[in-house]
């Protein structure tokens, strides 16, 4: 009974935790941004302004849920749900602690890549169904950006897969017991972080919704709960990418080898994820938005060669260590 109920309960916990986490993140991000930009951010409502989360939620829930008459109604309503569903599915393979995960499949990493690649439809179809030129341009940009960055997002992880010899995320964490992959796969980590930001289209890579040229890009026509779904999807994406960075490169639930494992595994995991999220917020505060052609040429002319070099070096070192030469 409890054996079978555990994944179901955990899935419910992740569902609720994801939504609540995304809501709190909106406040946390604005406070951090305020701190780094030498201003306050939302600090009026409740202790440290955390009541802002509830105020925002009430505002979004009570807004008029409107579909523009010129939009493609069915696709317009379907689009925001796609990103939330895809990102939530992605959490199914994340190992939060030993035995604390929904499923441990032998293709866990590929499952994660598949789910992030499905999330692109949300932005694409949202932009198309809006029947608005800014939304269409935003959708087109996002499609080109996400399909391009997906290529080396997958390739940058192959070094990790080669060393650990498995697509299973549990095996990958277990392979980092002595040395985390952030030391042996520096290039892979670099490319994965950049591709991760581009995949979740956050600043500085939020060209699909660049407000200085496209008003609000793909979600120009969206308001109320449907807009909130897009935002929820974006923050879920941020959390998912952070979880994956921690799992793949920073030892998942393992503590650093030189300190030991004196915290419970889940606490190590949460601590590291929080640090990575803060790093993403810092990036948003520090780096301006690039031009669109700069973004694409960075991807194909810099990121792709780096990943290929990383693959060749990793393969060569692995063969050398096994005495293949």
């Amino acid at each position: 009974m409890s054996e079978q109920m555990f994944p179901v309960l955990l899935a419910l916990a992740i569902l609720l935790g994801g939504v609540a986490g995304a809501a709190v993140l909106t406040w946390w991000e604005r406070r951090l941004l305020g701190f780094w930009q030498d201003r306050y951010g939302p600090n009026r409502l409740g202790p440290f302004g955390i009541g802002q989360v509830i105020a925002d939620m009430i505002k979004l829930l009570t807004k008029d849920d409107w579909v523009p008459p010129f939009a493609d109604r069915v696709v317009f309503i379907f689009a925001p749900t796609a990103i939330v569903v895809a990102m939530m599915m992605g959490f199914a393979v994340v190992p939060f602690a030993p035995d604390l995960m929904i499923i441990d499949v032998n293709i866990g990493l590929l499952f994660f890549l598949g789910m992030t690649s499905l999330a692109v439809y949300s932005v694409l179809l949202g932009g198309l169904a809006s029947n608005n030129k800014y939304a269409l341009l935003g959708g087109l940009r996002s499609a080109a950006q996400m399909v391009s960055y997906e290529v080396f997002m997958g390739l940058s992880l192959m070094g990790v897969v080669m060393i650990s010899g498995s697509f299973s995320l549990v095996d990958i964490v277990a392979a980092q017991t002595n040395v985390w992959f952030c030391f042996s796969q520096v290039l892979g980590l670099l490319v994965f972080v950049i591709a991760g930001i581009a995949e979740s289209h956050r600043l500085p890579f939020d060209l699909p919704e660049a407000e200085h040229e496209l008003t609000a890009g793909f979600h120009t026509e969206y308001g109320g709960m449907k807009f909130a779904m897009f935002m929820l999807g974006e923050y879920l994406g941020l959390m998912l990418i952070s979880c994956m960075i921690v799992t793949l490169f920073f030892g998942g639930w393992l503590g650093p080898a030189f300190i030991g494992h004196w915290l419970p595994p889940l606490a190590w995991f949460a601590l590291k994820v929080l640090l990575v999220i803060n790093f993403f917020v810092l990036l948003r505060a520090a780096i301006p938005r690039p031009r669109y052609d700069q973004l694409m040429s960075l991807g194909w002319k810099v990121m792709l060669p780096i990943t290929l070099v990383n693959l060749v070096i990793t393969g060569a070192v692995l063969l050398w260590m096994e005495g293949g030469f």
Partner: protein
């Protein structure tokens, strides 16, 4: 038993979605049904013991190739005019011939399936097996595919460059 129920659910979703994909006049709606159909096929792959093929089906077909299809439709932006033309293509005299030929193939397939005893395959094909097969007995096919892709890449670069030069 559970696998069989799951298989029939996934298979019927795939069939219904494919039929709807063919009969929709709006290209975007048709593509969404096609994506659903591909996802259902991925579930079937997973159920018959090919998780790696299932993952590739989602990552490559649903996640990349169909995105490019939607991308092209967005660039063309056909709208109501395109819908009207599509509706014109759904006349019996256009689909009767292909349907007849497909029905003959379907009858052949039914006959072949009915002659097979028991489950087709209960062996799980892991990612490692796929890799060993690709770079073992099928290495020639992989190399030929690589050459073909390279030729496509060079060709599209050539065409794109000529276009850029004309603009300047």
């Amino acid at each position: 038993m559970l696998e069989i129920i799951l298989f029939y659910i996934a298979a019927s979703i795939a069939l219904i979605a494919t039929v709807l994909a063919m009969t929709r006049a709006n290209a975007i709606h048709a593509l969404i049904y096609l994506i659903v159909s591909l996802l259902a096929v991925a579930v079937i792959f997973f159920l018959i013991g090919a998780p790696f093929a299932a993952a590739l089906e989602i990552v490559i077909y649903a996640g990349a190739i169909m995105v490019l299809f939607v991308f092209v439709i967005m660039m063309l932006n056909l709208g109501e005019e395109g819908d009207a033309r599509e509706r014109g293509l759904l006349q019996p005299k256009i689909w009767a011939g292909p349907t007849l030929l497909s029905l003959m193939l379907f009858a052949e397939l039914l006959y072949m399936i009915s002659t097979i005893e028991g489950p087709v395959s209960m062996q799980v094909v892991t990612a490692k097996d796929v890799g060993l097969a690709l770079f073992g007995p099928y290495v020639l096919a992989v190399e030929i595919a690589a050459m073909l892709l390279l030729a496509g890449l060079v060709g599209s670069y050539h065409l794109g460059r000529r276009y850029l030069e004309r603009e300047v």
